[in-house]
């Protein structure tokens, strides 16, 4: 059997997971009212949008991990 290192090799695609942290912790970038969306201030709809984007960035990471046999049984 081929010996397999269990130490997780770093893959650049995992950097995607950092993006939501940069976006959400940089509060001044979204602490404003304009532009509004359907009457909802930017502060609110932008963060709601990031719920979707935050989940979306994990999807390519997930498929990359599955393909690379990150497959604990």
């Amino acid at each position: 059997m081929k010996e397999k290192s269990t130490r997780r090799r770093f893959r650049p695609i995992h950097l995607l997971l950092l993006i939501p942290y940069l976006a959400m912790l940089w509060v001044p970038s979204y602490n404003r009212i304009e532009p509004m969306l359907a009457g909802i201030p930017f502060f609110y709809w932008y963060q709601m949008l990031w719920i979707v984007l935050g989940a979306a960035v994990m999807i390519p990471v997930y498929f990359a991990d599955e393909r690379n046999g990150e497959n604990g049984q």
Binding site: I33, W50, G54, Y62
Partner: protein, 517 residues
């Protein structure tokens, strides 16, 4: 009393009670073993885990308190949204490792893992006790959520029984006794099954609320126009202070780091059937965050509807403060049959986390206190029996707490709970990646973190968890959990370096690299 609403409420409550007892036969296992009773046999797949964790993390109290914060304080209350966004990339990255090592070594709690990884019973005890202490007031707050719902229905909380006299909080006591019985009987399977109903009701409620209420209030434009423009966004930074934006970011980050250290979150995670399930759920759970974001906006809608000025809700606001904002909004906006559905969703939403939290506390006590210090050679059946009894004791304690003491105590203790639970991060999270930290150094860091964190909370009279840090005349308002964690990490690493250099004791690690994959 609102008869239609009460009938629907009681019917739904009856349905989940039946489910709670039937659950013991679901995916049958030997409930006389702790991992079967307390982790559902580690057999929950992607879908069940999604419901279970959703029901577990997004608690009834959250659904009351988050909009209440927006209602009362404005934009700051929305920090729950970035918080729940940031949790999942972290879960995705880190927690499959915990799942794997727990499966490989039969760990049921985070303290089990710390015991195995660092070979130090005292550190494991500290982690276990921290978990129990942080969770107890959280269970009590679920009761507050249920209390608000029952009171909103207009059910009289003081019931006079012939021969006994007046009993306060009787409906609450009945609800909790029923919950205690089926948790005892079915273990983690009960909240897992009930979570299906809870979440279905929750999504119906959210969908209805964000469609019906804005139509009644003239659209989102009118709703936000009615709010005070100053509270709609966070205040600006000044020459002397980073201002509320720093508080917002640190609250979000600190809460993120703390969430999956809570015993009920660990229990939910470890009950899943594979590390794939953990990762898939990290991707899928944000659906609940979206519901939470919409529910948070109900706080702004309650401002626009001006429910606080309506005389019919004055008693509710007097009893529960701003926590009555959402129930009042529902009573004002919905027909009475749907009020029954809405309040049932809140009350059932309290049952799921309360059950899982009490099971998690029971697992901790049994594994890390009872088996470690009282009866080291106990048989599996005995272990499961102790856990079942502890789950009853924990719930009785929470009930007594709410009946006998003012609600503010529970809220203040829960605030402190976030500050103490985060201090287990170096042992649990860093422990997943290295065994080179010295357990006594970790213990010293834990003590330093708990000490400074509690001191900061005390200085703020337990009214807030934002402690202003002043450096060279510049103030950074920072969530106390985060600043005390920083000190904890500093102490843990510095002392580990010293101890390892001086003592040169080899790590007593029972886990292997392969256990984490």
């Amino acid at each position: 009393m609102n008869t239609t609403a009460v009938v629907i409420f009681v019917a739904l409550f009856g349905l989940v009670t039946v489910l709670g007892f039937v659950a013991s036969r679901w995916r049958r296992g030997n409930l006389n073993e702790l991992h079967e009773w307390g982790l559902g046999g580690r057999r929950f797949g992607t879908v069940v885990t999604w419901f279970l964790l959703g029901g577990d993390l997004y608690t009834a109290y959250t659904f009351i308190a988050v909009p209440a914060l927006l209602f009362g304080a404005g934009a700051t209350g929305f920090f729950a949204v970035p918080y729940t966004i940031l949790v999942y990339p972290m879960v995705y990255w880190i927690y499959p490792r915990l799942w794997s090592v727990a499966r490989a070594k039969g760990y049921v709690t985070a303290a089990d893992f710390v015991r195995g990884r660092f070979g130090n019973g005292t550190l494991a005890l500290a982690v276990a006790v921290t978990g129990i202490v942080a969770t107890m007031p959280y269970i009590a707050l679920q009761l507050v959520g249920m209390e608000v719902a029952i009171a909103g229905l207009g059910i009289d909380m003081v019931v006079t029984i012939p021969g006994i006299g007046a009993v306060r909080e009787l409906p609450l006591i009945i609800a909790f006794v029923v919950l205690a019985l089926y948790t005892y009987n079915s273990g983690l399977r009960a909240p897992a099954l009930i979570a299906l109903v809870k979440d279905a009701l929750l999504y119906i409620l959210v969908l209805a609320a964000v469609i019906v209420i804005p139509i009644q209030l003239g659209g989102f434009g009118a709703i936000f126009a009615a709010a005070d423009p100053k509270t709609l966004i966070l205040g600006p930074a000044t020459e002397a202070s980073m201002g509320p934006q720093a508080a917002y970011a640190t609250l979000a980050l600190g809460s993120t780091l703390a969430l999956f250290l809570y015993p009920h979150a660990v229990t939910g995670l470890l009950s899943s059937s594979s590390r794939h399930v953990v990762r898939r759920n990290a991707v899928a759970l944000p659906a609940y965050s979206f519901a939470l974001g919409l529910i948070a906006l109900l706080g702004v809608m309650a401002v626009a509807a001006n429910v606080k000025a309506m005389p019919e809700y004055a008693a509710g606001f007097k009893a529960f403060g701003n926590n009555f904002a959402v129930p009042a909004l529902f009573l004002h906006s919905f027909p009475s049959w749907f009020v029954g559905v809405a309040f049932a969703a809140i009350a059932i939403g309290a049952l799921v986390p309360a059950a899982i939290m009490s099971i998690a506390c029971a697992n901790l006590f049994t594994r890390n206190i009872y088996r470690e210090y009282i009866d080291p050679h106990c048989k599996p059946a005995r272990e499961a029996q102790v856990a079942k009894i502890v789950s009853l004791v924990v719930k009785a304690g929470a009930l007594l707490f709410i009946i006998e003491l003012p609600t503010t105590y529970a809220i203040q203790l829960q605030l402190l709970g976030g500050i103490v639970i985060i201090q287990t991060l170096p042992a649990v999270i860093f422990g997943l990646y290295t065994n080179k930290l010295n357990p006594w150094a970790l213990l010293a860091g834990w003590a330093a973190g708990i000490g400074t964190g509690s001191w900061m909370a005390m200085t703020l009279s337990f009214k807030s968890s934002i402690f202003p840090l002043t450096l060279f005349g510049y103030t950074i308002p920072c969530y106390a959990a985060l600043s005390s964690l920083a000190l904890n990490i500093l102490v843990s690493f510095a002392l580990s370096w010293v101890f390892n250099a001086v003592l040169r004791t080899p790590p007593r690690d029972e886990t292997l690299d392969a256990d984490y994959a």
